[in-house]
Symmetry: C2
Subunit: 608 residues, 2 copies
C-alpha cells in the first residue's frame, strides 16, 4: 500500500521560532502551508528568551507585539560589576541596555521560548493551521528538471515524512509534494545535512575551558540590587550575566572554570553528566560575593553549553529548498541574538515567497534571501566572537594587567548596540535595494528599516506611528513626502507625480497588480490649515492616507519628521518601503521612471 | 404555585452603561450580582457614543481601555464654522477638542453604545455572569425594619421580576431577595418611580423650537474638509455638530427649525412621526452649503430629541436601593456626557458596596455616593444648560448683533473643557475626602483623580504610568513619596513611617484588613544610583513597588513627578488614593495618626 500523498505550496520543517514565524507569515498572506516538527509539544521552559528591539518592531508589523509586551519582561538598564579591593565585586556603573537610540521600543523583551511560539501558534490555529507533530522528515528529493524548477507553480520537491505517534505503524508515512520547502530545523538541521550544505567556521577551539557556560532559570532570593537589571559581572571567580525574565524569574549565565567541571582526558570535552544545577548555583554564589544569591522553589530549567560559531555555506538550493534560523547560523546565546536572527530570516523570506507564488514576482527575487541574510549571519558571527571573548575574559586587576578593562567592555557594549539590537541591519545594494538617491533622505538609510516616527493624520489630527501604518501585509508602501503642498508650484509637482504613477509608461500603479501598493501622502503643512481634501485623489485612496509632519494637539508627540529622515520639507521625496519594512528606493518627485525601473527588475507585469 | 425565589448580594436593574459598569465592577470584586434588562438583546446601533478622557482613564483602571481604544474613533481636533459673507459657511478656526491638559488620553473616543456594552459583557461572561433578559421588575418592597437595614448581610429588598420570553406563562416570575438594589433603568426609570423619587428641573420650556434636534448616523460622501473632526457649524440655516465615529461613520446633530417640523397646535410639541431621516439630511444640506453632504449605503440610525435637563431629588433610599445614570439625571446628548456620567456613577458606588458587603466598611460609607454624585449631576445640568443655549443660539451676523459670537462660543468650549472631559471632577470634603494637608501637594488636588504621570521602577528602570499601578481593585493605595532617601535624616523619617504604619496604635496596615492596602514608595532619587533594596521592607512588599521620579533611559518619558504633584522632593508626603482613583487624604511623613483617623471613620477594624 503506497503512503498518502499531499500537495502544499510551502512545507516548513521545524516549529521553533524560525519555522513558526514563516508558517504564520505565509498563512497570513494566504499561502497554503504545512508545518511539521519532531517534538510532541511546544517548548515549556528555558531555551531562547531575548527579543531585541528590531524584532519587537517586526512582531508589531504582524500585530503580535501587543501580546508580547503584555507578557514579557523589559530590560531597560544594564549594570556592570567588577572586582572590588576586598576581593568581592562592586558596581562600576549603570547604562542603558539598548544603545540604538532610534529603537521604537528601546529595551530588550524577555519571555520564554514557549510563550514566543504561542504568539504564532494561536493566530495560526485561528487560520486553521496546526503544527503536525511529532513528525520527522525521512527523505527529500529535489527535481533536476530545469523547466520544472523555473515554474513557480510546479511541485519540484518531494518530502517523505513520518508521523511518530501514529497508532498504525503501517500507515505512518506521508509523501508531501511542495512548491517550496523551508528547513527551520535547528542547529543539527536534517534538511541542511540532506542537502549536503556545509557549515563554515568551527566550534571555539578547545581546551579554552573559559568558554563553557552554565545556565539556570530561577526565582531569586537575593540582596543584590541589580537583580532585575541586565547585569554583567566580572568577578575574580569568573563571569556571570543576569537576564531578568517574566514575573519574578531571572536567568543566570555562569562561567565555569576547570575547577567546576570534569573534562574527558582524551577529547578535552566537558562531561555534562557530571554537572548539575546545584553545582552551577555554587559557582554563582562565589561570583556574587559579598552579595547573596539563592533561589526559591524549584530550578525552572538549566543547561550547559559550549560556544559554537558557524554559518552555512549556502542558504538555499536552487531557490526551492531554503534553510533559516539555527540551521544556517549558530552562535553563543549570551548576546541574545539567536531567536532574533531566526525570526528575521523568515521575515525576509516570507514576502518574497508570497509574491513569487502569487505570480507577482520573478523567481529571481528569491536569490536576495541568501544575499541579504547570509551577509547578516556572517556579521553576527564576527560580532559574537568579539563579544564572547570580552565577556569570557578575566577582568583587569592589579595582578592581571592583561585582563579586560571595564572601559573596553562598556565601549564594546555600546559600539555593538546598533547591531545587537537589530536596528542597525543595513542590506547592501541589490535588485531590491537601490541606493541611487540616498542623498534625498540622508538620515533614512536605504536598506535599513523605516525609522519609527509619529505623524498626524490630516483629516482628524490623530497621531500615528508610521510603522503601524506600514504593516507586514506583503504590500510595497509608496510614501509620498509631498513637501509644502500649500505652495502652488509644489502642489503642481505633487499633482504631476499623481498622474505619472497612475498613467503612462511609468505608471507602476497600473503596470503591476494594483494590490501590490499602498499609497500614503505626508505633507509638511500644519494641522490648523491643511485640508486633506486638497491632496490629489490618487495620493489619498482613503481619507486616512494623508499625514502631516506636525505635533498632536498638545505637542506631546509628533513633529520633525522631515528632519528625522533628512527630507527637504519644501520639495519632498518618494520613499518606497519594501513589504518587510526596509527602504528599497528613494526618488525625487520627478523620479517615477526610476521607481518603475527598480520594480521592473523583480515584479511581473499585471496580466489584466 | 409560588414563584421561585433567589438571593443575591446586589440586584442591578437595567443593562445599559450604568448597570453593566456596576455589574462588571461588582462581579470583578467577587460580589454576587444579578442583572436584568427589559430589552431582548444589546443595543445594535446609535444611542450614546462619546467616551470622555476621564472615562477612558476609569475604563483603563478596570483593564477595559485597550479594547475600547482599539475599536473606537478618536476626536483630537475641533473645528468651528460660521456664516460667510456670501451666505454660506466658512471655517473660523480649529482647536484641540479636549482642553483638559492633564488628560492621559487628550481626546474623546467615539464608539456605538453596543460596543461599549460588549466591553463589560464579554468579561462578565468569562466570570459566569450573563444579563437576564428580557426581564422586567414588577414589584419592589424595602423592609422598614431598622435592625435589618443596619445589617449589611441582611436581605431587606424583595423584588419580583417577570421573564418576558418565558414559554411557560405560569412560571414566568421570580422573587429576588437582595441585600442591595441598583436601579440603572434609564430616564424613565421604573425603580425611581416605584420609590417615589421625584425629578428636579424641567424640560426646556416650549415652544423654543430651536431646541429640537435630529440625529443621523451615516457614512458620508462629502467634500467638507473637517468631516473627520468634531465640528460645530453655526450657519444661517441652523446649527449642526459633526461627531466622527468608528470606521468611516459620522454622526450629525442637526438643529431643526419651525419650517422643518410639524407642531401639534394644542401642545406645541413636535410630531415625530412626520419627520424622517431624509428630511434631516435635507436640513443638513442647507446648513453645509457651499459644501456637499450626502451619504453612501443606508442610514445606520436616526432619532429626534428635545433637550430635557433634570436631576433626581435623591439617589438612594436608606442606602439599600440606589439609582444611577439616566435614572438620576438627564441632559442633552450633544455635550457627550450621558454615558460618561452614568458609568462614573457606578464607578463611585462599586467599591463602597463591595467593602460594606465584605464587612470592611461601615454602612455610612454608602451615604457618600449621593453626596458626591448628586453634586456632580447638578453641576452637569448647569453646564449643559449654558452649553445648549450657546449651541442652539443663532450666530452673530451683520443683521443679528445679539447672536452668539464665535469668540464667546470658543471661550465657553475651552472653559467648560475641564468639566466636560470629566478630568475636573472634584469631590467636596466628606468622610472619605480630607483636605487638611492640601498644601503638601498643591498641584494634586484632594478629591480629584490622581494625576497621570510616568515614574521609573527602581529595580529595572522600566517606565510605568502611575495610574496603571493603581487599578480599580478595591484597594486603598498608600503612595509614600519618600523624598530624597539618599540623605540619612530623610531615610530615618521614611524608616519611622514604615514602623508607624505597620505597628502601634496608628498602624493601620495591621488595624484593618491588610488586603485593603497596597503600598508604593516613590523616591526622588535617580536611577543610576538608587538601589531598591535600600527602602525599608514594609514599604516595598514586592521588588516592583519602589518607583523613582526620573526619566527612562532616553528621557523620552518620566521625570518631574514631584513637581507635577507639587510635593517637596526633599521631604515628601503620603498620598492616599481611594479605590476609585481619587485622592482621599494627603499627609506628612509624620502624619500617620491623621491617616488612621481618616480611615477609622468608615473602615471597620480587622477582627483578626
Amino acid at each position: 500500500m503506497s503512503p498518502p500523498e499531499s500537495k502544499v505550496d510551502v512545507l516548513v520543517i521545524g516549529a521553533g521560532p524560525a519555522g513558526l514565524f514563516a508558517a504564520h507569515g505565509l498563512a497570513r498572506a494566504g499561502v497554503s502551508v504545512k508545518i511539521v516538527d519532531q517534538r510532541p509539544c511546544r517548548v515549556a521552559a528555558g531555551q531562547a528568551d531575548g527579543i531585541q528591539p528590531r524584532t519587537i518592531e517586526v512582531l508589531q508589523s504582524y500585530g503580535l507585539a501587543e501580546r508580547l509586551l503584555r507578557e514579557a519582561n523589559q530590560m531597560h538598564m544594564a549594570a556592570f560589576y567588577n572586582p572590588s579591593a576586598d576581593g568581592g565585586i562592586e558596581r562600576t556603573g549603570r547604562a542603558p541596555d539598548v544603545t540604538a537610540t532610534t529603537a521604537r521600543w528601546p529595551f530588550e523583551a524577555t519571555l520564554h521560548q514557549g510563550a514566543i511560539e504561542a504568539l504564532f501558534m494561536d493566530p495560526m490555529r485561528e487560520m486553521g493551521l496546526e503544527v503536525d507533530r511529532p513528525t520527522v522528515p525521512t527523505a527529500l528529493e529535489l527535481s533536476e528538471d530545469e523547466e520544472l524548477l523555473k515554474d513557480p507553480q510546479s511541485y519540484p520537491v518531494k518530502v517523505t515524512v513520518k508521523h511518530l505517534d501514529h497508532a498504525d505503524a503501517q500507515n505512518d508515512t506521508e509523501v508531501v509534494h511542495a512548491k517550496f520547502v523551508l528547513g527551520a530545523d535547528g542547529a543539527h538541521s536534517w534538511v541542511r545535512k540532506i542537502l549536503g550544505v556545509t557549515l563554515d567556521g568551527e566550534q571555539t577551539v578547545y581546551p579554552v575551558i573559559d568558554y563553557i557556560w552554565g545556565v539556570v532559570d530561577i526565582i531569586p532570593s537575593s540582596d543584590f540590587p541589580d537583580i532585575r537589571n541586565k547585569t554583567a559581572i566580572h568577578s575574580p571567580n569568573g563571569s556571570c550575566m543576569i537576564i531578568p525574565r517574566e514575573g519574578d524569574k531571572i536567568r543566570l549565565y555562569i562561567q565555569l572554570s576547570e575547577k567546576d567541571v570534569e573534562k574527558d582526558i582524551q577529547t578535552g570535552r566537558v562531561d555534562k553528566s557530571k554537572v548539575g544545577p546545584q553545582q552551577l548555583m555554587e559557582v554563582a554564589k562565589k561570583i556574587f560575593k559579598p552579595f547573596n544569591i539563592d533561589y526559591v522553589g524549584e530550578i525552572d530549567w538549566w543547561t550547559i553549553y559550549v560556544i559554537g560559531q558557524r554559518v552555512a555555506s549556502q542558504f538555499s538550493v536552487k531557490e526551492r529548498v531554503f534553510i533559516a534560523g539555527d540551521a544556517c547560523h549558530t552562535h553563543s546565546p549570551k548576546a541574545g541574538q539567536g531567536m532574533n536572527a531566526s525570526m528575521n530570516d523568515s521575515h525576509n523570506l516570507v514576502w518574497k515567497l508570497t509574491h513569487v507564488l502569487r505570480g507577482n514576482a520573478e523567481m529571481s527575487l528569491l536569490k536576495t534571501y541568501e544575499f541579504e541574510r547570509r551577509k547578516y549571519a556572517q556579521d553576527l558571527i564576527d560580532f559574537d566572537k568579539q563579544w564572547s571573548a570580552l565577556f569570557s575574559g578575566k577582568p583587569r586587576t592589579e595582578d592581571n594587567q592583561d585582563g579586560v578593562a571595564h572601559e573596553d567592555f562598556l565601549k564594546a557594549f555600546q559600539t555593538f548596540g546598533a547591531f545587537s539590537s537589530g536596528i542597525g541591519v543595513h542590506y547592501a545594494p541589490s535588485a531590491i535595494t537601490n541606493y541611487t538617491h540616498q542623498s534625498l533622505s540622508p538620515n533614512q538609510l536605504i536598506g535599513t528599516r523605516i525609522l519609527p516616527h509619529v505623524f498626524i493624520r490630516a483629516a482628524d489630527a490623530r497621531p500615528y506611528e508610521i510603522q503601524d501604518l506600514l504593516p507586514s501585509d506583503t504590500k510595497f508602501k509608496i510614501l509620498v513626502f509631498a513637501g509644502n503642498t500649500t505652495k502652488p508650484e509644489q502642489w503642481k509637482r505633487v499633482d504631476n507625480l499623481a498622474k505619472e504613477i497612475s498613467t503612462g509608461e511609468h505608471g507602476f500603479l497600473q503596470i503591476y497588480n494594483r494590490d501590490l501598493f499602498d499609497v500614503w501622502t505626508i505633507s509638511s503643512g500644519k494641522k490648523e490649515v491643511v485640508d486633506y481634501t486638497d491632496i490629489p485623489e490618487i495620493l489619498r485612496p482613503h481619507w486616512s492616507h494623508v499625514l502631516l509632519d506636525d505635533t498632536d494637539m498638545y505637542a506631546r508627540t509628533g513633529g520633525g519628521g522631515y528632519e528625522r529622515y533628512g527630507i527637504d520639507p519644501e520639495r519632498g521625496a518618494v520613499v518606497v518601503v519594501r513589504p518587510d519594512g526596509y527602504v528599497g528606493i528613494v526618488a525625487p518627485l520627478e523620479g517615477v521612471k526610476g521607481i518603475q525601473e527598480y520594480l521592473s527588475v523583480f515584479l511581473k507585469k499585471s496580466s489584466s
